[in-house]
Amino acid sequence: MLTLEKLEEFGANVEDGLGRCMNNEAFYLRLVGMVISDDKLDRLGELIEANELDGAFETAHALKGMYGNLSLTPVYTPLCEMTEYLRKRTQMDYGPLLLEAKRQKKILTDLAGD
């Protein structure tokens, strides 16, 4: 089960994220749960794979907003970087950044499952 402590350990800026949720712990954790079950990160991978950079930008941008608002920094950081490259439609290997975002999400998902 997710707790604020676990999220802090994970590297989330819990104070900020919780603040946006008017310090309502249950509400914050519910939103984090929603992020965990969201599958857009996989979709981002597919779009990058297909070199559909317009769609990839929109998806990365949306993900960045979601993770940013909940201050889930470890996933937010690689997504920020990807969004900026994708904004310019840079042709590059997005694999390492995507992998990092996915790895961090997996850690987050596992925390919820523990």
Binding site: M34, E58, K64, L70
Partner: protein, 567 residues
């Protein structure tokens, strides 16, 4: 004046629209904003635009994301900016991108909230400040009374009602709408000053009536007045009619001014004031083209019709989702050769409603048109028709083009060409496989814009048919100037072609003229052999109608194709 609004606002929660495609962002922002405001949500610009149109008088602020599917934030800002009423609603843009901030402000946004979001207090302060500024601006610009008649303007009329009348539940009140018939024509024939004198007289009489009826009145718009007065017997409204008309005609001289009066008696005070007057307006509109009837009361039948319409409108989303709209195909036959040859089809839509049974398109299409929703149904039909053309192509190896309707409203959509291209492409079709029917009246409404749009569509390869030719005020010389590929004659001419010499000659004239311009003609509503024979005789190219086949489901149509191929 300001104190009236302030007082009204004390106990009233303003409405904020949040537009964001991300559910989490909507939930998060919604929970912050809901502390102080009522909130509605939209997932993209298009949904937001629908909500804004529906709640335009109630929305105090829009929180708008920029990057969204369907219609993004910039496009919505652009649409709002063009609308004189909607552009007054303040918009705060939600963005994480610095360049978007500047662009949004340039496009009319009043502020922005950066992403990740600020702390709730900061967000609320920004929202509060933006609403306050917009309302102050309204007060500075607002005028309480109409300069011409001295009556209230509608906005203040509503405020007065909510303040002085609506809270008194013991008193039964009537809402009355008065519409001056054909004032526009009077203005055109006799000049604006003359029309203004008529309106002034009407306004003065209405004020007198309202005062003695313990009510208030406003000039709602050009030729339309509202009164909210203590309930009375319906017969009194005939007297009001006579009094007002007599006063109007003092100024009108030789012209004879007439009115329509619609009354919603014993208004339900739990309803919003706008809705109360909508009911009076519904009653008023039943008098269109009914001469000699002085007033109409909103009654059970209108109420049921209103409820029925609301049900249909409310059920549209589910109907689209669950494919309750069924497409029928009516075959069109080319008759210029020895024998009729199946050449294309027209897509016609029916609604198989789970509770109401088969709903006639004559009921739901005008309703969707009136409420600005027809584009959604049109798009659905385009997609279904394209899928069907592809299915037949795959099954029989031939393309049977299908005509679909393009409504007036679609023509004003900036993405029309792209949407249609996307639909044909995604089905592996060519533009010429989808025929587009545009009704004649759309051409006469705004011919410049429609010519541009149709020219664009034809350049892409779409075949454009002008529907209902001869039903409106078009003239034959339009054929020389308008970009069209086929002319579809109004059904009424065909109906009488055998019995009326005039209609026969008119049909012949239209077909001859079209032939001169090398425009093929299509006759619909062909029901008898005699009609078919006469149409052949006058050189009509293509026919459709019950004589050949009624509109049939796709599976039955496939049988017709099979039959044609083996003939």
């Amino acid at each position: 004046m300001k104190h009236i609004i302030e007082e009204k606002n004390k106990n009233f929660r303003r409405l904020v629209l949040i537009v964001d495609d991300e559910q989490i962002n909507r939930v998060l922002l919604g929970s912050i904003v809901q502390k102080q405001y009522d909130v509605i949500f939209a997932e993209n610009g298009k949904e937001a635009y629908e909500a804004i149109k529906e709640y335009q008088q109630k929305i105090s602020l829009i929180l708008l994301d920029i990057l969204m599917p369907e219609m993004n934030g910039y496009s919505l800002l652009e649409v709002l900016k063009k609308d004189p009423v909607l552009r007054k609603i303040p918009v705060i843009v939600l963005t994480s991108d610095r360049s978007a901030e500047v662009k949004s402000l340039q496009m009319g946004a009043v502020d922005f909230i950066p992403k990740p979001y600020d702390m709730p207090d900061v967000i609320m302060a920004r929202i509060g400040r933006s609403i306050e500024l917009a309302e102050d601006r309204f007060l500075i610009n607002a005028t309480e009374t109409d300069a011409l008649t001295g009556l209230y303007v509608r906005e203040f009329f509503y405020i007065h009602i909510s303040r002085y009348f609506h809270s008194d539940s013991n008193r039964q009140m009537d809402a009355i709408v008065l519409n001056v018939n054909k004032l526009r024509i009077v203005n055109e024939l006799r000049g604006r000053e003359y029309g203004d004198a008529v309106l002034r007289n009407i306004g003065a009489k209405i004020r007198e009536i309202a005062e003695r009826s313990e009510g208030i009145a406003c000039r709602s718009e050009g030729d339309c007045f509202f009164i909210y007065a203590v309930h009375r017997d319906a017969a009194c409204y005939a007297d009001w009619y006579d009094e007002i008309v007599a006063e109007a005609n003092k100024a009108a001289g030789n012209s004879k001014i007439t009115l329509k009066i619609g009354v919603y008696q014993n208004a339900d005070k739990n309803m919003e004031i706008e809705r109360i007057f909508d009911r009076a307006l519904i009653a008023c509109n039943t008098l269109v083209n009914q001469y000699g009837v002085k007033y109409a009361l909103y009654d059970e039948e209108m109420h049921n019709k209103e409820l029925y319409s609301e049900k249909l409108l409310g059920d549209m989303d589910t109907a689209l989702e669950k494919k309750q709209f069924k497409i029928f195909y009516q075959p069109k036959y080319r008759i210029s050769g020895d024998k009729p040859v199946l050449c294309s089809a027209e897509a016609l839509v029916r609604w198989s409603h789970p509770d109401l049974g088969m709903v006639s398109p004559g009921t739901f299409i005008p309703l969707f048109e009136m409420n600005g929703l027809i584009y959604r149904l049109d798009r659905y039909v385009w997609e279904e028709a394209a899928i069907q053309v592809r299915a037949w192509k795959e099954a029989f190896g031939v393309v049977i083009p299908v005509s679909v309707n393009v409504s007036r409203m679609d023509v004003y959509e900036s993405g029309l060409e792209n949407s249609l291209m996307e639909i044909v492409k995604s089905n592996g079709l060519k533009p010429e496989d989808l025929y587009l029917e545009i009704t004649e009246s759309a051409y006469t409404d705004n011919s410049e814009q429609i010519v541009d749009v149709v020219t664009g569509l034809r350049e892409k390869g779409f075949v454009v048919e002008m529907d209902d030719f001869g039903s409106g005020y078009s003239s034959l010389n339009m054929l020389a100037t308008l970009p069209i590929d086929a002319l579809k004659l109004d059904m009424r001419f065909i109906r009488n072609i055998c019995t009326s010499g005039v209609d026969y000659r008119l049909v012949k004239l239209m077909i001859d003229t079209a032939a001169l311009m090398s425009i093929p003609t299509i006759a619909e509503g062909v029901e008898t052999e005699e009609q078919y024979r006469l149409l052949r005789e006058v050189g009509c190219d293509i026919v459709q109608g019950y004589y050949f086949s009624k509109p049939v489901p796709a599976e039955e149509f496939a049988e017709l194709i099979k039959k044609e191929l083996t003939a």
